[in-house]
C-alpha cells in the first residue's frame, strides 16, 4: 500500500522515506488563478517601502546635496537672509534639545509603563484592567494639538505660578532645578515639554510592554508560583527577565515616537534658540525648528536647504531607532493595533 486514503498523495517506499523527511504540506493550495490576483495586488504592498525611498529621494533632491559638513553640527544657528556669507546653520542646539526632551520623556514613560503593564497583566482584576487599558488607549488618540493647547493654556500658567517656583525653592540644589527665577518665564519650557511628551509616549510603550509581558509562557509563570514564589517575585524573576527584549524594544519605539513629535512640543517648549540652562528654560528641538521655520524658508533658499537636510537627518535617525527597536520586537506589533485580541487569543 503506497497511497494514503485521505489525501491521495503518494507516500514514497519506506527505504526512501527514511533517508529523506517528508516535506511539510504546502501552505497555499495550488490554483491557476494565483498569478492574476498576485500580479494585481503586489504593487500596492510595495508602496510603504516605496514611500520611504521616495522620502529620502525627494528630501535629498530638495536639499541640493548642499551643506553636509561639520559646520552643520556646530553650535551656531544664525540664518541671515541679507548676508548669506556670514550665515551659519549649526543644529547642535536643536539636537541637544531633542536628545534632552526625548531621553527624559522616554525614561519617565518607560518606568511608568512598566508599572502600568505589570498592574494590568498581574495585579488588576480582568474587567478593571480592560477599562483602564481603554483609558490609556484614549490617551494615544488625543490629537497632539489638543495636548499642545492644554499644555499652553492650562498647564503653563500653573507651572509658572505654582509648580516651578516650588521646585526651585525646595529642590533647587539639584542640577537643572535651580537657577534664576527669570528662567521660569511663562511656564513653557523643557519641563512642560517633557511631561506632555511623556503622556503622549506612555500609551505606545504601555501597550508594547504589556504585549511582551503577556507573551511569557503560562507554564513558566505557573511553575514559579508552584515553587512558592509570590506574584511579585514571579513578575520580577520570570516576567521581567523573559520580556526584557520586548521591553527594550518598547522603549526604543517610544523613543522613535518622541524624537519626531512636533506640534505639541512646539506649543509648550518656549522656542528659544539656546542650550537650556535649567529644566524650566525655553529651548527648541529639531522637530520644532522644522515646523517653526518652514514658513519663513519659503522665500529664503539657504534656510530651506538647511531645514530639508535637518529633516532628512531626523528621518534617518528615527528610521534607525525604529529598525533597531523592531529587531527586538518578537511579534512586530504596531502599538495600539497589537492590543486588539487576535483570533488566537479569542480561541483560547
Amino acid at each position: 500500500m503506497t497511497t494514503s486514503p485521505t489525501d491521495g498523495s503518494t507516500i514514497p517506499p519506506a527505504s526512501e522515506a527514511s533517508s529523506e523527511p517528508v516535506p511539510p504540506p504546502a501552505r497555499r493550495p495550488p490554483t491557476g488563478r494565483k498569478r492574476a490576483g498576485a500580479v494585481l495586488t503586489a504593487p500596492l504592498s510595495w508602496l510603504p517601502l516605496l514611500f520611504l525611498a521616495a522620502i529620502v529621494a525627494v528630501l535629498l533632491y530638495a536639499s541640493d546635496f548642499h551643506n553636509f559638513g561639520l559646520s552643520f553640527w556646530g553650535p551656531n544657528w544664525f540664518p541671515d537672509p541679507l548676508d548669506p556669507a556670514s550665515a551659519s546653520y549649526g543644529v547642535l542646539v536643536f539636537a541637544v534639545g531633542t536628545v534632552l526632551t526625548s531621553a527624559l520623556a522616554v525614561f519617565l514613560a518607560g518606568v511608568l509603563s512598566i508599572g502600568l503593564a505589570i498592574s494590568l497583566v498581574m495585579f488588576l482584576p480582568g474587567p478593571l484592567a480592560r477599562v483602564l487599558a481603554l483609558f490609556v488607549d484614549l490617551l494615544a488618540g488625543i490629537p497632539s494639538v489638543v495636548y499642545g493647547i492644554w499644555g499652553y493654556v492650562v498647564l503653563a500658567p500653573y507651572f509658572a505660578n505654582d509648580l516651578e517656583p516650588a521646585l526651585q525653592s525646595h529642590l533647587g540644589f539639584l542640577p537643572g532645578l535651580g537657577g534664576s527665577s527669570v528662567e521660569i518665564a511663562g511656564g513653557t519650557g523643557l519641563l512642560l515639554a517633557v511631561l506632555v511628551l511623556t503622556l503622549m509616549v506612555v500609551p505606545l510603550t504601555t501597550a508594547l510592554v504589556r504585549d511582551s509581558l503577556r507573551s511569557v509562557p503560562r507554564a513558566l509563570e505557573e511553575s514559579g508560583l508552584a515553587l512558592g514564589a509570590t506574584r511579585w517575585e514571579v513578575v520580577r524573576r520570570v516576567h521581567l527577565r523573559y520580556a526584557r527584549r520586548g521591553i527594550f524594544s518598547a522603549v526604543l519605539l517610544g523613543l522613535g515616537r518622541a524624537l519626531g513629535e512636533t506640534v505639541a512640543v512646539f506649543m509648550v517648549i518656549g522656542n528659544q534658540v539656546r542650550f537650556p540652562p535649567t529644566l524650566y528654560s525655553g529651548t527648541s528641538t529639531i522637530a520644532t525648528l522644522l515646523v517653526g521655520q518652514f514658513d519663513s524658508a519659503f522665500i529664503y533658499p539657504d534656510l530651506l536647504r538647511a531645514l530639508v537636510e535637518i529633516a532628512l537627518v531626523l528621518f534617518l535617525i528615527t528610521l534607525a531607532v525604529n529598525v533597531i527597536g523592531r529587531r527586538f520586537l518578537t511579534d512586530g506589533g504596531l502599538g495600539r493595533i497589537a492590543l486588539e485580541a487576535g483570533p488566537e487569543k479569542a480561541a483560547s
Binding site: 503586489a42 510595495w46 514611500f51 525627494v58
Partner: protein, 297 residues
C-alpha cells in the same frame, strides 16, 4: 504531634511574612501609577470641555471663521473632506496590500512588506509634511490644495490599515480556508466569499483607528493643505481643518476676540470624534471576538 514548620522557609517564618507583605504592598501600590496617567487625561478633557462648552452653539457649527472669531464651518467641512480623501486612498491601498501580504506573498516578500509598513508608521509627521510639500505642492505645481493635503495624510494612514488588513486576512481560521479550497473554490471565490466576510470587521477597526489618527494630525497638513476661511469648493482649492485652526489660534490673547474660544471648541469637537471612533472600534472588536469564538467551535 503536629507537623513542625520549617523555621526559615515555612509559612510561619518572618521571611515568609515579609515576602507576602511585599507582594501585597506592590499589588496595591503599583496600580496607583494609573493616577499619573488618568489624572492628566481627565484634567485635559475637563478643561477643554470647560473652555469650549459655554460658548459652543449651533451658530459655531454653521458659520465660517472670520478675523476675530466666527464659527467652525469651514474647518469642519475641511477635516471631513481631507479624511474622506485620505481614507479612500489609504483604505484601498491598505486593504489590497494587506490581502496580498497575507494571501499571495512568499514569506520573504511578506516580511519585507510588513517591515515597510511598520517603518512608515514610525516616520515623524513633520517629515511626511516636508515630503508632501515638495512632492505634491512644489514639484507638481499644484500649490497647496485639498488633494495634496489628502494624499499626504493618506501616507500617514496607510500603515495602520495595511497592518490590520494583513492580520485580518492572515487570521482566517484554517478550517474555513481548507473547507473552501476543499470544495474547489478558486482563490478569488475564497477571498470574496469566505475571507472577506470574516476579515472585514477587523479591517474596519483598523480604518477607524487610522481615521482617528488622521483627524488629529497637524504637521503633515500645515504645508500641504493651505488655509481657507470658507469651505473648500473643489479638490484644487485650499482648505482649513480643525487641527490647523487650533495651531493658528492657540496663542491668541484671551481678552480680545473669540479666537481662543474657537480653538478650544475645535479641540472639543476633535476629542468627541476621537472618543466616538474609539467606542465604535471597541464595539466592533467585541462583536468580532464573539463571532470568531463561534467559528472556532
Amino acid at each position: 504531634m503536629t507537623a513542625t514548620v520549617d523555621p526559615v522557609w515555612g509559612t510561619d517564618s518572618p521571611r515568609w511574612r515579609r515576602r507576602v507583605a511585599a507582594d501585597r504592598y506592590v499589588s496595591y501600590l503599583l496600580p496607583l501609577l494609573f493616577l499619573a496617567v488618568l489624572y492628566p487625561l481627565l484634567d485635559l478633557i475637563y478643561w477643554i470641555g470647560a473652555e469650549a462648552l459655554p460658548t459652543l452653539s449651533w451658530r459655531t457649527l454653521t458659520t465660517n471663521p472670520s478675523g476675530f472669531g466666527g464659527g467652525l464651518l469651514a474647518p469642519i467641512t475641511g477635516t471631513l473632506y481631507l479624511i474622506a480623501i485620505s481614507t479612500a486612498l489609504a483604505g484601498t491601498v491598505g486593504i489590497v496590500a494587506g490581502m496580498y501580504t497575507a494571501e499571495f506573498a512568499s514569506p520573504r516578500v511578506a516580511s519585507l512588506g510588513r517591515l515597510g509598513g511598520n517603518l512608515l508608521a514610525g516616520v515623524p509627521a513633520i517629515v511626511i509634511g516636508y515630503f508632501g510639500y515638495f512632492a505634491l505642492v512644489l514639484y507638481t505645481h499644484w500649490g497647496m490644495t485639498l488633494v495634496a493635503g489628502g494624499i499626504t495624510l493618506s501616507i500617514f494612514m496607510i500603515p495602520y490599515i495595511y497592518r490590520t488588513a494583513d492580520l485580518a486576512f492572515g487570521s482566517v481560521p484554517a478550517d474555513q480556508r481548507e473547507a473552501a479550497f476543499g470544495m474547489g473554490a478558486s482563490r478569488g471565490q475564497y477571498l470574496r466569499r469566505v475571507a472577506w466576510p470574516i476579515a472585514f470587521p477587523r479591517i474596519l477597526t483598523g480604518i477607524f483607528i487610522a481615521m482617528a489618527i488622521g483627524l488629529g494630525e497637524t504637521a503633515p497638513l500645515l504645508f500641504t493643505a493651505g488655509w481657507n476661511f470658507v469651505p473648500a469648493t473643489g479638490l484644487s482649492s485650499q482648505t482649513s481643518y480643525l487641527t490647523g485652526l487650533i495651531w493658528l489660534y492657540y496663542s491668541a490673547p484671551t481678552d480680545f476676540g473669540t479666537e481662543l474660544a474657537l480653538a478650544f471648541q475645535a479641540a472639543f469637537l476633535l476629542i468627541v470624534i476621537v472618543i466616538a471612533l474609539n467606542v465604535i472600534v471597541q464595539l466592533i472588536a467585541e462583536r468580532y471576538r464573539r463571532r470568531l469564538r463561534g467559528l472556532f467551535r
